[in-house]
């Protein structure tokens, strides 16, 4: 969601006018008052007339040039307004009202100078919340959340008063995986009188990401109690119920979402995931079939159904689905990769390798296919120094270059490095894999082995504890998932989504 920060501009402009009036009044109360009065009344032409006369007498007054800039800006003449502000700054480089005016114009127009002006304001007035807020938004727009967050923090009440700025702040914290802080921000946003449905949704998303599904469910309740709860809300609620171990409610809500939004492919994929988690593969297939009635060209649904067919050992059907997915969406190639995976499931790693190689010939820069190739070769037991080992290594390296967050590819690469005796490299890859996926037991295990072999044992005890804890958590999660199995009721009244 983009953030609109127009309100920030208005606030800034008002401050400028008041400041200028006050500042210049201190110097020449009789000369500036008519200008200020005209500006307050929105009579920008009148203000300009006064200013013209004053400027003839005081051409080097930065204040007058700044006020001219304000008047021109008020008239909508941004280009000349900016020129006026710049002129004021040539006379007095740190003149705050001119800096603020120029910054606002550049900010609104998306000009590259906004950040520079805002930076100069902060040198003069380091704690200026408006400048911080605006810089935060600029950084957010550029995708630089690490830079944005400190500015959001210092934006204080300015940020708090802007719902979109609060959402951007929270979004940035989520991207930086500072989930608890994000929750605090979203909670504040929700407490604002201007809070809307999105604020509640975002808070619930953050709570779910922080593994507090009960909190997420509580947050969503006011929305769920409405008849008009959208499918995205229902889908989020389903995820929260499932994470809370309440699979029956998750399924109920997800079905409701599907009924309300039968063309939403993601909902069927979510259902397939729940079916997979609960070993209820045929139920998942049946729901995907319903989805395909509504969206017969959804590649994702063919992939999802193919994966479920693999679990049912119906490999021919799986292969057909993956081929169809590939044909429908050749760019994504998930179907290709899944086909390779399915071949492996059939106890046929040689066929899996040839399948993956064939797909790679057409899509040589597909990270997932490269990962699969590396993994299959590794599983075959390639020895360091051999051509196949080199190929496995090259594939894995390329996969992680193309997709740095592909943790399984880093796991394979780490294992290959361990085999080759390159323990430092193995440790590096394992750490990166773990950063991408904090539940990656393989990454921690490889890291332990790499550190032991390189003699760097100081961090190992903590890693061993982490691994043991992850194992325990994983066992608990599995036990939770296995509490429920999905079964279909063969009732004539069973609803199916209508296309």
């Amino acid at each position: 969601m983009g953030v609109k920060c127009d309100d920030v501009r208005i606030t800034s402009l008002s401050v400028v006018i008041v400041f200028c009036a006050f500042a210049f009044a201190q110097m020449n109360p009789s000369g500036i008052e008519p200008v200020a009065s005209a500006l307050r009344a929105g009579k920008f032409d009148e203000a300009l007339q006064h200013l013209q006369a004053e400027l003839e007498q005081h051409p080097k007054s930065p204040q007058l040039w700044a006020l001219r800039g304000i008047a021109l800006s008020g008239k909508g003449n941004k280009k000349e307004a900016l020129a006026s502000f710049r002129h004021a700054l040539t006379i007095s480089p740190d003149y705050l009202p001119a800096l603020e005016g120029a910054a606002q114009i550049e900010y609104d127009s998306g000009g590259t100078g906004a950040a520079l002006f805002l930076g100069r304001i902060l040198k003069v007035h380091p704690a200026d919340p408006t400048s911080h807020a605006m810089l935060a938004v600029l950084d957010y727009r550029r995708g630089d959340c690490a830079a944005a967050v400190p500015h959001f923090e210092q934006g204080g009440a300015v940020v708090d008063s802007q719902p979109d700025a609060m959402q951007a702040y929270g979004d940035c914290l989520m991207k930086l995986k500072e989930t608890k802080k994000a929750i605090a921000i979203f909670t504040r946003a929700l407490a604002q009188p201007t809070a809307d449905m999105q604020a509640r949704y975002r808070l619930a998303s953050a709570q779910l990401a922080a593994q507090s599904p009960k909190d997420a469910i509580a947050t969503l309740q006011p929305l769920l109690q409405q008849d008009t709860a959208g499918s995205d809300v229902l889908a989020l609620a389903a995820s929260a119920y499932e994470a809370d171990g309440n699979t029956p409610e998750a399924v109920r809500v997800l079905r409701q979402a599907i009924l309300s939004d039968p063309h939403n492919v993601n909902l069927y994929v979510d259902f397939a995931n729940i079916s997979l988690d609960h070993q209820s593969f045929q139920v998942g297939v049946d729901m995907i079939n319903a989805g395909l009635v509504a969206e017969p060209k959804a590649a994702a649904l063919y992939v999802a159904r193919g994966v479920l067919y693999v679990q049912l050992a119906e490999y021919d059907k799986a292969e057909a689905d993956f081929e169809e997915a590939d044909a429908l969406n050749p760019k994504q190639s998930v179907g290709s990769a899944a086909e390779g995976l399915a071949a492996v499931q059939q106890n046929d790693p040689e066929r899996a390798l040839s399948t993956v190689r064939a797909k790679l010939a057409k899509k040589p820069n597909d990270a997932f296919l490269l990962y699969l190739q590396a993994q299959i070769l590794s599983q075959r037991g390639v020895d360091p120094g051999t051509a196949e080992f080199q190929q496995a290594m090259a594939s894995a390296k390329k996969a992680v270059t193309l997709r740095p967050t592909l943790a399984p590819a880093r796991d394979v690469l780490a294992k290959l490095y361990l085999q080759a005796g390159e323990n430092e490299a193995a440790a590096e890859q394992s750490r990166k894999a773990f950063n991408s996926d904090p539940k990656d037991q393989t990454a921690i295990y490889h890291l332990i082995q790499a550190l032991r072999k390189s003699g760097r044992t100081e961090g190992i005890p903590d890693l061993l504890k982490q691994l043991a804890n992850l194992r325990i958590e994983g066992t608990k999660e599995e036990a939770e998932r296995n509490r429920y199995k999905l079964v279909e009721e063969k009732s004539p009244a069973m609803e199916k989504p209508q296309p």
Binding site: V269, V344, R380, P408, K415, Y445, E478
Partner: protein, 588 residues
């Protein structure tokens, strides 16, 4: 709307072969799965060992009763038991000891552990009752050792119930001294693997016992009751997942015929969370002190490293021997110990469940292990559930091979899914000499190809002809006794150790054989394979070498070197006293 990669990964990798986390797939065992890799082309090299099952003609006709035949209600009926080669009467001929179970419906006639005396002519006589060893119950593992240093091998058996220590009286009889020795448990426990060992080097054999599961009939779930009670969609006996893990015990030998439970003090009791099975006690890091490895089912295996002060530290995960090479749990049952790559260090071979490769772990000499399963080409076959195993030179070519027995735990599955047979063949992987193996089938003889539901197996030379024979427990069938008929004779040597300052059985001793530019390590063990005990005479195939140097690292620290020993004989070495006369080696 396209399926995001994150969504696909979650969707497909959760159950795929490459899952980063194990998926239970609704069953009670760990499901680390490995797809079999393509078999390399056959080497074409002849294999001269040939195994024939002579059990029946040898007089081993009584079945090993163990639980239901067509189906098993509880996991207790499925895990089975071990066997042992033991020279109980010190006549130089290996006698046989086979454990047994019972049935849920009551003890059937003939259900008992059995001691068979070697008649030295290829046959055996059942002397169980006369020896005072008749006992019926759910026996699990056996470990052999002279706990009181009187020169006679004693027997310790683990049970679901209460473990037993049988003292060898020296007159052909045994006495159950469990209570007197302080080894009688007040509570019912499920003893699994065991090993005598001298962990504190005081010359007396202490005792380690692993426990599998805390089980009770009253509380155990039944087939189909929950997801841990299903396999491939068929309701089966439950577990071990979902059942509480057992607690392992270490007993210190007080030197007066009694033992003291030092589990807590020694740091053993802290290792909870694993379903313990076979126990191996050996000096794996070659620091002169015995360590303890426990193969564990569906949980990380355990490696207790000796701190030299009466305590241990558990380092299985750290040393690379607890989990798969991807850090995943496996179903670890049996353990073979030997030196497959002839680098003078003791490697481990652990047997696993079907659809997973058995694990070969190469020791770097300091007790750190690398999983070399794939590079050694062992992952070509993942069809069977494997149990007893050994790293043993079957053809005397000087390169230790791998042998394992197999058998299902779910006899009922075969009726619905015929591809998962209850009785399955043995497996032989011959060592090609380049750190890889080649699976053999019928080349190794009919005894290997025959299908049984097997569990423990012990390696020894029952006919004293200079090769390795194999005794195998078959559930609800008579045992197998695979006699090795080597066609092309190659050289060998057997080493029997007698401790003097060290424990009499020399358990924990490490022996290196140097021959033809090679060095092979073996250890005197009280238990290995699955719940079983091998012939205490260490057998080294020497290939073409007609002489061998032997280095002995005695348990109490003495090191001795014997040079240029002639091949094709048994030598008995007494600690500090050199070569001693053999006991009854010559065939009659």
């Amino acid at each position: 709307m396209t399926l995001s990669r994150r969504g696909f990964m979650r969707l497909s990798l959760g159950s795929a072969a490459f899952a980063a986390t194990p998926k239970l797939l609704g069953q009670g065992v760990a499901t680390h799965t490995v797809k079999p890799v393509a078999r390399p082309a056959p080497s074409g090299r002849p294999f001269y060992a040939r195994f024939v099952d002579v059990a029946s003609s040898a007089g081993l006709q009584a079945p090993v009763i163990y639980g239901g035949i067509e189906s098993k209600k509880y996991i207790l009926e499925a895990t089975g038991c071990g066997c042992a080669f033991i020279d109980y009467d010190n006549d130089g001929w290996m006698d046989l000891f086979l454990l047994s179970g019972t049935r849920l419906t009551g003890d059937p006639p003939g259900a008992t552990n059995r001691l068979y005396k070697n008649n030295r002519d290829g046959t055996f006589t059942d002397i169980t009752e006369k020896a005072g060893l008749k006992d019926v119950g759910w026996a699990s593992g056996v470990c052999i050792g002279d706990y009181n240093n009187d020169g006679l091998e004693d027997i310790f058996c683990t049970y679901f119930g209460r473990n037993r220590l049988y003292r060898n009286n020296g007159d052909g009889t045994f006495t159950d001294v469990s209570k007197a020795a302080g080894l009688w448990s007040d509570q019912v426990r499920w003893g699994a693997g065991c090993s005598f060992l001298d962990y504190d080097r005081d010359g007396h054999l202490d005792l380690f016992v692993s426990n599998y599961v805390r089980f009770s009939f009253e509380h155990a779930p039944v087939p189909g009751e929950n997801v841990n009670c299903n396999w491939k969609g068929v309701p089966v006996e439950c577990g071990p997942r979902g059942l509480p893990t057992g607690k392992h015990s270490l007993y210190h030998n007080n030197g007066d015929g009694t033992f003291t439970d030092v589990s807590q003090k020694a740091g053993i009791a802290g290792a909870t969370g694993s379903y313990g099975m076979t126990v191996v006690a050996a000096d794996l890091d070659e620091d002169g002190w015995t360590d303890i490895f426990v193969a564990c089912d569906s949980t990380p295996s355990l490696l207790f490293m000796n701190n030299h002060d009466g305590t241990f530290r558990e380092e299985g995960v750290l040393r690379g021997v607890a989990l798969s090479d991807d850090g995943m749990e496996q179903a670890g049952m049996g353990v073979g110990v030997g030196d497959y790559d002839l680098d003078g260090h003791l490697d481990l071979f652990k047997t696993h469940f079907a659809e997973d490769a058995n694990g070969l772990y190469r020791n770097d000499g300091k007790g750190n292990f690398d999983d070399v399963t794939r590079s050694s080409r062992l992952a070509v076959d993942t069809r069977y559930i494997c149990w007893g195993a050994g790293i043993v030179d079957l053809d005397n070519d000087g390169y230790p091979d791998l042998f394992m027995v197999t058998g299902s735990v779910y006899p009922e599955v075969e009726r619905k899914l015929p591809q998962y047979a209850n009785k399955t063949p043995r497996a032989v992987f011959r060592n090609l000499g380049n750190r890889t193996f080649e699976e053999l089938g019928e080349e190794a003889g009919p005894g290997v190809a025959e299908a049984h539901c097997s569990r423990g197996c012990a390696f020894g030379d029952f006919d004293n002809d200079g090769d390795i024979d194999i005794l195998i427990v078959n559930l609800n069938e008579p045992p197998s006794l695979l006699r090795n008929d080597i066609k092309h004779k190659q050289n060998w040597i057997k080493v029997k150790l007698e401790g003097v300052k060290s424990n009499r059985s020399a358990i924990g001793a490490r022996v290196l054989a140097l021959y033809g530019g090679k060095v092979q390590a073996q250890a005197v063990l009280s238990q290995s394979s699955f719940y079983s005990c091998n012939d205490s005479r260490l057998h080294f195939g020497l290939g073409d070498s007609s002489a061998v140097d032997i280095e002995v690292y005695w348990p109490n620290g003495l090191r001795e070197h014997f040079k240029n020993l002639a091949a094709n004989r048994l030598i008995t070495l007494r600690e500090g006293l050199g070569i001693s006369p053999n006991k009854g080696w010559e065939r009659t």
